[in-house]
Symmetry: none
Subunit: 424 residues, 2 copies
């Protein structure tokens, strides 16, 4: 079942915003067996949109259009769609109502420009009742046209919750599909690839994809088979092989987030966590608290950026800081244990390192990070040398600290080893 994506926006063809959303959508759709054949990106140009849209609709079973649904004068998607289909624009009363409700709720003066959003091509069916920029779809003979807002969060949400279910309902596949995404922390992409090379070669209908979403590696498996039974059988085989090969490093599947996996584990055990961060600067706390309900298990975080703060808040002794330096094993240990005791929590995590670009030395180069882990059983620390720029070092450090806790909660491993463990 083949389709196309038409992304609209001057910001895209001007390279102000990279159109990653379309490529993400192509991947998501492929997992479901819907293959994107072309991704076109065009500016807010009525004639060009009409031309390209007509062409795509004549070629493919479905078309996804994104962008240009907003209230401003450069938003011309609705007009273009109507023109391409030879339909008129009609006011959608549900949209009008929603726009007015939102203005009221947010105490905004009425802005007539916003009503432009409610002028939709005849036959448009709204995709949702809850968002301002709803998005809509049209059934055109045997093909489907989806019009989605360009705002990435809204686009992604609607694709997953509305577009894919509608495709499955209106354009059902004749083959069976199974797919799964494996989220891996702590292994190299090339090493994963090497261990699975034979799998793809030996089994037909199995498609693997490797996506470095650093510091994680995501491994996608797509199975295509003539029947549900065959797809299931093939999937079982592949799933077992992957799980057996990489197990302690697979932290989740599909939509799982490392911080949410930890949240579930802690909630189940009714245990709590506190963190003390230096070079990650609040990134670990921030990731943990992005998860709804994290107040049930996250007690506190401290970002002890200065040595003064490390002493005052965590009680790291002055002489330890002086003798060993802030980036050292005893400081990581003192921070992890300090924050755990201070918070009265079950677990304490700490990070102290050199994220760069400055601050490195021949003995402790940029990327050197000590991570500490404290629980009832023991307090331990490990040294890492992470690659990349400041942001990547911070991302690796935060990810490693979180994964360490996960490995302890799942397997009881006190000191798990990772690709960037450097000594200790």
């Amino acid at each position: 079942m083949k389709g196309a994506i038409l992304a609209i926006g001057n910001e895209l063809v001007r390279g102000r915003v990279f159109n990653t959303t379309s490529f993400w959508a192509a991947r998501e759709l492929l997992f479901q067996g819907y293959e994107i054949q072309e991704i076109l990106t065009v500016p807010d140009d009525l004639e060009l949109i009409v031309l390209r849209l007509r062409d795509l609709l004549s070629r493919y079973a479905f078309c996804l259009l994104s962008g240009g649904l907003g209230p401003t004068t450069d938003d011309i998607t609705n007009e273009a769609v109507a023109k391409a289909l030879g339909k008129s624009l009609v006011t959608n009363e549900k949209m009008v109502h929603r726009i007015k409700e939102r203005e009221k709720a947010q105490n905004l003066p009425h802005n007539p420009l916003r009503l432009r959003m409610a002028r939709l091509p005849e036959g448009a069916i709204l995709l949702t009742n809850t968002q301002a920029m709803a998005g809509y779809y049209l059934v055109l003979g045997r093909s489907l046209l989806f019009c989605l807002p360009g705002v990435p969060q809204e686009f992604r949400h609607l694709l997953k919750t509305k577009v894919i279910p509608l495709l499955k309902e209106k354009l059902p596949l004749k083959i069976s599909i199974r797919s799964r995404l494996y989220k891996i922390f702590g292994l190299r992409e090339a090493d994963i690839n090497l261990k699975l090379k034979s799998l793809e070669e030996e089994l037909s209908g199995v498609y693997l994809g490797y996506y470095p979403v650093l510091p994680e590696i995501h491994l996608s498996v797509l199975i295509r088979a003539p029947s549900v039974e065959e797809a299931d059988k093939l999937f079982e085989l592949v799933d077992q092989k992957i799980t057996k090969t990489f197990e302690p490093f697979i932290f989740g599947h599909d939509e799982d987030l490392l911080e949410a996996v930890i949240g579930k584990l802690l909630s189940k055990r009714k245990e709590t966590l506190a963190v003390a961060e230096s070079c990650t600067g609040g990134l670990i706390a921030s990731r943990i608290t992005r998860v709804p309900g994290s107040s049930n298990y996250f007690e506190r975080g401290v970002v002890t950026y200065s040595n003064q703060a490390k002493k005052e808040i965590l009680g790291v002794p002055e002489e330890v800081l002086v003798s060993y330096g802030a980036v050292s094993e005893p400081v990581a240990l003192a921070m992890a244990e300090g924050v755990r005791k201070l918070a009265g929590s079950d677990y304490g995590l700490s990070v102290t390192g050199i994220a760069g670009p400055t601050g490195g030395s021949p003995e402790k180069p940029v990327g050197t990070v000590w991570i500490g882990f404290s629980c009832q059983e023991a307090t331990v620390a490990q040294c890492f040398l992470f690659p990349g720029d400041r942001h990547l070092v911070q991302d690796y450090a935060a990810g490693t600290a979180l994964d360490w806790l996960r490995q302890y909660l799942t397997y009881g491993t006190l000191v798990p080893r990772y690709q960037f463990t450097c000594r200790g």
Copy 2:
């Protein structure tokens, strides 16, 4: 001078690799006055490539094609280009020579497949003498076709060093270009649009774009004029109008980040900052410490997620928490002042609110956030009602706290008003 980009590769339309290179190229070209009108991404499908390439060449002065120049059987770009142009493929002896030299240098056995790379469309001129996949261009009457390797580093290098100079030589511009991006915090997209509507209508050669990168709004200005003088004059006019209209809400331009703008202001004043976060959970500290050199002005952060932590670390009195609740003016004040005094810093920021999805009440619905700001002069707090889901509420809260500090540092405004200020 308008052009198009045609990117070729199954890995692109399957979403295995995100085609960011094309968007990067569009941006680079626009800065030079060469406007990309369409970016098409297609698979390794001969007929489709021929069809799209012919269409693009008939419309635009130049076309950039990327990918499919390699030695493997799925590399069919040369064949497609020849077919689209009605030319034959001829062996390029320079390429043959280079391929053989490289095989020798790398001690590789001769692989006849590699010679496929030397079969180029008649008239192709190599772009460089140093790379294996050289890339080439063709002069087609008054238009230009560039064929570049898809490997991002090679593509980028050739675009900068070869393609842009060739464009300037063969397709010199008759117009001058000026462009600027305005980054705005605290105003609505529709309101900004309303105030600038007349500008675009009255002045020809001025192009505005509105991009919600929530919680920020980015406004782009592109000026096209017949001469440098006229472009500069027009730019001055538009820049003054925009600056005057939105000034206190414009936090930066082009590549500026709010947290880096604050960093510069604090560094210049040799002042320091500490933050106390509840519902933003470390997001503010994390954004600040993403900036290199932030250890010069960021002293510490505390994520006082539990009431216990608010009392213990920040000294928020028990009776205040009990009488007013954690999400209240006195708690925001106590947190901001508490963290500032504790850290001995010049400024203290605090956030306490209900990010959701649970925890709301009729009196304090989800999205209710108190933000506190403390400096030598005073300690103040403001209540906000932010829209959206948990993440958006957190993003708005963090952005507002940071922008509040910026407005104080820039204008001395103690209590700046924002679109989501709700009372107080």
